[in-house]
């Protein structure tokens, strides 16, 4: 709780993490306001994905502190971090996120099913996202029957369906052409704003960052652009 500010969703202080002898983060600090869309940019190997994984409780930093919604994350055990990811966060990655056996609508419903929602209700809730994401009619398709853009929109719906407080997106358009990528970003940002979800999107593309409220740059394991969050009311 220490140091958490009202209106701040995520705060990272002097986060450091090494993989063996290789340092990935060297004292990265960052603040993200509630409802903000933040783009984390940087060249390949700069540590931006590692920072996202630390913020999301996937990796535990060697040093520093991370607070999410006023709760310190880096000291939680694996089980508590898993619960946090499951209950509070949504994720969108570059590719390969859909369970191949399940239909598109079942993939979207998966977080709700995991949270204990009855199947019929979960599928009904998931179906609602298909119209919003221009996926109407694709509910019963399997992942192998979807185009890259369609699969990414299904993954986006899955990331948002449980109404997470934070959506973490790691190169969400990395495997898409520019037109499709823009469409996905439109939907990602639009849907997140609609339900007040905070978004942290990692990208190396400037056009992606253009959709964000603010951008920071990670270079050599540090957040080099001063990151002062505008507190939204």
């Amino acid at each position: 709780m220490n140091g958490a500010t009202t209106g701040v969703m995520i705060e990272a202080r002097e986060v450091a993490l090494s993989f063996g002898e290789t340092p990935a983060l060297r004292g990265a600090s960052l603040t993200v306001a509630e409802g903000e869309v933040l783009a984390v940019m940087g060249p390949s190997g700069s540590g931006k994905s590692t920072l996202l994984h630390c913020l999301a409780g996937i990796l535990v930093p060697d040093a520093g502190e991370i607070h999410v919604a006023g709760r310190r994350v880096d000291t939680l055990d694996e089980s508590a971090r898993s619960a946090l990811r499951r209950d509070q966060f949504g994720f969108v990655f570059q590719f390969g996120q859909l369970v191949p056996e399940l239909t598109a609508v079942e993939n979207v419903a998966l977080p709700l099913l995991l949270a204990g929602t009855r199947r019929r209700a979960a599928v009904a809730e998931a179906s609602g996202w298909f119209g919003r994401l221009d996926l109407e009619g694709l509910q019963q398709r399997r992942s192998g029957e979807l185009s890259g853009g369609q699969a990414q929109r299904v993954a986006l719906a899955r990331g948002l369906v449980a109404r997470p407080r934070v959506l973490f997106a790691d190169e969400p358009t990395g495997s898409l052409d520019s037109l499709t990528g823009e469409h996905v970003l439109d939907l990602l940002v639009g849907s997140a704003r609609e339900q007040g979800t905070t978004v942290v999107v990692v990208t190396h593309e400037a056009r992606v960052a253009a959709y964000a409220d603010r951008e920071v740059i990670v270079r050599d394991g540090k957040v080099t652009t001063p990151a002062v969050a505008p507190v939204l009311s």
């Binding site: 996937i58 898993s82 399940l102």
Partner: protein
């Protein structure tokens, strides 16, 4: 290209190494089973040849005079000790040039005998009154292995005076010792029907090798996606499809050769244990489980060639273009027609209920055809049944684990069923065999340990077996001290009934007579009708037993012969308290007093041969199930691992998003357990149905529930399979860790 293939196979990274090891282990299992079967067939033939000399005298070729050979008087009989067969050969040489049986240096003279090693040991540890007194004279040596069907054979060769043995009606004068395989000798009475055992072993081998082949096939699909990516990369840089095919073939062949060599090692390591399995009724000498040069060459060359062919065939299922795998064959859902052979098999067996074919050949054809139809039908119907069960699971699933597992199973039920199809065959065969054998034994009222069939001995003096000219047997031929032996509760003489024996089963008229006052003292053998003084009985006071009734419920038919004292003695029945000491002492006393003719035995010992054969088949079925369940478990485990590898990325992402590992464990568990348990239930059900139909059609018997051992074996086998699957679960945590999602 072959060199590159070899390098990729042995140094292609951890996944290639794992695949190599798993395939090699699968091939080793298959090789070991194949070698064990071939060795079993060879051992059966060798054992049968060891029985050959015991048929001397039975085959006319041995009794023909041979110039320069002094004939031997020869009498082969069957005695018993503690329920085990004890072969006894009485011999008397008529001159110095007499033929000598194998295993002994010379024929024993009068007052001498040779004992087999097992009997030799028993003679040292058993009171003479229970065993040793049966053999006159002194032991002059031990019978060598060449004359012994089994290391545990109880056998004695007793020397007799010529004049004594020459007078015995059953003795033969032989000039040569028989060496013909009993299977090729129509007059032989001792030995095995080794053709039957060869067929049985082949069926068992097929039942065992089937799941192993499935295991090999599943193992070669391990990391298939990664392997196909590698092949695609090679196509991209210019490798031809033929070159890719060579690479795949080399990889599979390396694993097959390694597995084949390992299989030979496994076989030789397990050979002593295999020799101890008495599947012909007797254990084997380890050296009898040998392999011929043809066997070694066929297995040594056949398995790698088979693996190479299998690899080429497997690669034909996918087309690897330079841009990756294209045209992967999407399995079509199985159709309902697959149920037809199963239903036809059931219908065929059901049709014969009340319409039993008249000839043995007709019956054999009818039941084998039905069984084959049912086994084929089960294997064909399995994918359809798996699909239906999986669809039900998926439709009703409320939790993601059941939904994912159900969907995966219903997407490719063929693959899911393939992993357990060997199990279907094994469980069906075992259940049908257990059901039929248990019911047969129960209906035949196999004697319980405390039944008179197991506790009473009888010695019968059949007129045709008596030495001509000797006085008829009488009460004085009953050993004086018989009744005083501890544990002997009654000694009952049975007189010869001169009336014709009736074959009318509703009013049996036995060959013996007994006074009702004597019978009243031993009510366990039945009773007399009201007012009768004498009744007609069987020589052992038991006779053919009626299903569902015990001997004490029997009412023997009255006889109007009253003067029994004037009649000759037909048999003597000795009732005991069931203790082995009392039975063996009584048997020894009777055999010593009346050493010729048949030896005293219990009804249970007479019946033991057929019961033993049934029990052996039951044991073989148990071996099949115990071996095939874990193999099926291995196949399932490998297919689970292959499935996990295919879904490594989405599963890792799920874990990354906070999904508990136990949910993924549940997916894996359900994907394996559902086909295993569904298929087990179907196989068991149809096995019992087949047994019930066969019993009703052939014997008009009802199906009886098998004993606890059946359920125990099925439970242990299923538990072992599930344990093997559970052993793959730790892998799940490792291969779906966050680093997978980060790095792949």
């Amino acid at each position: 290209m072959i060199g590159l293939g070899l390098r990729l196979a042995v140094a292609g990274g951890r996944e290639a190494a794992v695949r190599l090891v798993v395939v090699a282990v699968a091939v080793a299992l298959g090789t070991g089973l194949l070698l064990a079967t071939l060795a079993g067939i060879n051992a059966t033939k060798t054992q049968n040849l060891r029985y050959a000399w015991l048929n001397t005298g039975a085959d006319p070729s041995t009794t023909a005079a041979v110039a320069g050979v002094d004939p031997v008087w020869w009498l082969a009989r069957e005695d018993y000790f503690h329920g085990e067969d004890l072969g006894r050969i009485d011999v008397a040489a008529t001159g110095p040039a007499a033929p000598v049986p194998p295993g002994i240096p010379a024929l024993p003279g009068p007052g001498e005998f040779y004992a087999s090693p097992a009997l030799h040991d028993l003679l040292r540890t058993t009171p003479a009154a229970e065993l040793g007194d049966r053999f006159p004279g002194r032991e002059v040596g031990v019978v060598g292995d060449a004359a012994l069907p089994s290391p545990g054979s109880l056998l004695v060769i007793v020397g007799q005076p010529v004049e004594t043995l020459a007078g015995q009606p059953a003795a033969a004068k032989v000039s040569r010792i028989l060496t013909t395989d009993p299977a090729n000798c129509s007059r032989c009475v001792v030995g095995l029907n080794d053709t039957m055992f060869t067929v049985t072993l082949s069926v068992i081998a097929a039942a065992l090798i089937f799941p192993v082949l499935i295991f090999i096939g599943t193992a070669t699909r391990l990391s298939a996606a990664r392997r196909e990516q590698r092949f695609a990369a090679m196509r991209l840089i210019g490798a031809t499809p033929r070159q890719v095919s060579v690479l795949a073939t080399v990889e599979s062949t390396v694993a097959a050769v390694a597995g084949m060599l390992l299989g030979f090692g496994v076989f030789f390591a397990l050979r002593p244990g295999l020799a101890a399995i008495p599947f012909t009724g007797a254990t084997f000498f380890p050296d009898d489980l040998g392999l011929t040069l043809v066997n070694v060459l066929a297995v040594g060359a056949g398995i790698p060639v088979g693996a190479a062919v299998a690899a080429r065939l497997a690669l034909r299922r996918v087309r690897i273009s330079p841009l990756g795998v294209t045209g992967r064959v999407t399995p079509k859902p199985p159709r309902a027609w697959r149920l037809i052979p199963l239903v036809a098999g059931i219908a065929e067996l059901a049709w014969f209920v009340g319409r039993k074919p008249e000839t043995t050949n007709g019956q054999t054809f009818a039941y084998i055809a039905g069984a084959v139809l049912m086994v084929t039908g089960l294997v064909l119907a399995g994918p359809w049944l798996t699909m239906r069960a999986a669809r039900v699971v998926a439709q009703r699933a409320q939790r993601p684990a059941a939904l994912i597992a159900g969907r995966r199973l219903s997407d490719d039920p063929m693959a899911a069923f393939r992993a357990v199809s060997g199990l279907v065959v094994a469980l069906f065969v075992m259940t049908a065999a257990s059901g039929a054998i248990t019911s047969y034994v129960a209906e035949r009222a196999s004697p319980a340990g405390d039944s008179v069939a197991a506790t009473s001995l009888s010695q019968t003096f059949w007129p045709e077996e008596l030495v001509p000219g000797t006085p008829a047997p009488s009460i004085s031929d009953i050993p004086a001290g018989l009744a005083a032996i501890p544990g002997v509760t009654a000694v009952i003489p049975v007189r010869e009934n001169l009336r014709e024996i009736s074959s009318d089963s509703t009013s049996p008229q036995g060959p013996g007579l007994i006074r009702c006052v004597d019978l009243a003292r031993t009510p366990e053998f039945g009773r007399c009708p009201e007012g009768a003084r004498t009744v007609a009985v069987w020589s052992d006071l038991i006779g053919p037993r009626e299903p569902g009734t015990s001997p004490d419920q029997r009412v023997w038919p009255a006889s109007n012969v009253t003067d029994l004292d004037s009649l000759r003695l037909l048999s003597v029945v000795v009732q005991t308290d069931g203790s082995a000491a009392a039975k063996e002492q009584a048997r020894t006393a009777l055999a010593t007093t009346n050493p010729w003719g048949r030896f005293p035995a219990t009804e249970a010992e007479w019946e033991a041969d057929s019961a033993r054969t049934l029990v052996q088949f039951q044991r073989l079925a148990d071996v099949v199930i115990l071996a095939s369940l874990p193999i099926a478990g291995c196949s399932l485990a490998v297919s689970v691992i292959a499935g996990l590898t295919d879904r490594k990325r989405p599963f890792s992402v799920l874990r990354l998003t906070g999904v508990r590992i136990r949910m993924l464990r549940a997916v894996v568990g359900l994907e394996s357990a559902v086909p295993l348990l569904v298929v087990a239930a179907v196989a068991i059900g149809t096995g019992f149905l087949a047994a019930a139909l066969f019993l009703r059609a052939q014997l008009d018997y009802s199906l009886h529930a098998p004993g606890a051992s059946y359920y125990l074996i099925v439970a242990v086998g299923l538990a072992a399979s599930l344990a093997i699957i559970a052993a793959t679960l730790p892998l799940l945590r490792r291969i779906t860790g966050p680093e997978t999602a980060r790095n792949e």
